[in-house]
Symmetry: C2
Subunit: 145 residues, 2 copies
Amino acid sequence: MTHDQLKEALDTLKDTGVRITPQRHAILEYLINSMSHPTADDIYKALEGKFPNMSVATVYNNLRVFREVGLVKELTYGDSSSRFDFITTQHYHVICEQCGKIVDFHYPGLDEVEQLASHVTGFKVSHHRMEIYGTCPECLAKEAH
Amino acid sequence: MTHDQLKEALDTLKDTGVRITPQRHAILEYLINSMSHPTADDIYKALEGKFPNMSVATVYNNLRVFREVGLVKELTYGDSSSRFDFITTQHYHVICEQCGKIVDFHYPGLDEVEQLASHVTGFKVSHHRMEIYGTCPECLAKEAH
DNA sequence: TTATTACTTTATAATGTTTATAAATAGTGT
DNA sequence: ACACTATTTATAAACATTATAAAGTAATAA
């Protein structure tokens, strides 16, 4: 499974015209296999053995590239450094209040909210539901006349 | 209204044994009146006129104190610096799937999700809806027999 | 396969936010 | 007003992240 994810990710890179370097391969592989949500430094340290000369900047640069291509999500919790997460599909819906159109909106699960809710209320939380409402670009254009 | 909020906040400080200094008063006042979500530096700059000698550390220290006392929420979006928000009541619902009970659950608005949704889909977002589902403590206890 | 070209990596320095420190100052309760 | 202790200030330090320029390397086509 994780092998397929890596292959897909590499295909995504190829399709987007992003070069596949050994460092990028290794960082992606680490992100996919990592259960935790590593910081840039975690990744840097983890790959030190394989790439003794790799620069921290390389890790940051590539995490940014992955994020721009949509492979990786940057998580900013309260602590000092960002955490990075390989994106597996999951989505919410954005709903147009004018025409009813529903657009998928990918976003990592709101684990934090569930955890806090559970902690505060004593509930055993099973899931949550979220929808976002607004006006779609087409209806916005119509409005503009 | 905002005057009451300030008064309440000051009472909270007094009750918690936190000294009320002119700087703290001013920072709280600024946070309450501010519609945006200011960074520490925003606050520092905004109060420069009133407190020409105030140190940046004072702003950071007090924001931490306010956060620890529960008056202020620290928001970490992707950008470089944290933003701070005076906590006004606002809540979601946690719903028991067994007995239907609804419990209020306070949580700062999911601005980040709305912003990202807007950015990705091109929608003009008006609001969102979120509910959390699970089993309440009472029903959990019944289950436990 | 090799040459070419543009993109990447590396090493380093720089930037910017946040925290630590110690001396000076000022709230609070008596 | 006094004494006690928290707080402020000024400064330096720590830390994550980004910028820069030179060296290296992946992809493409001849």
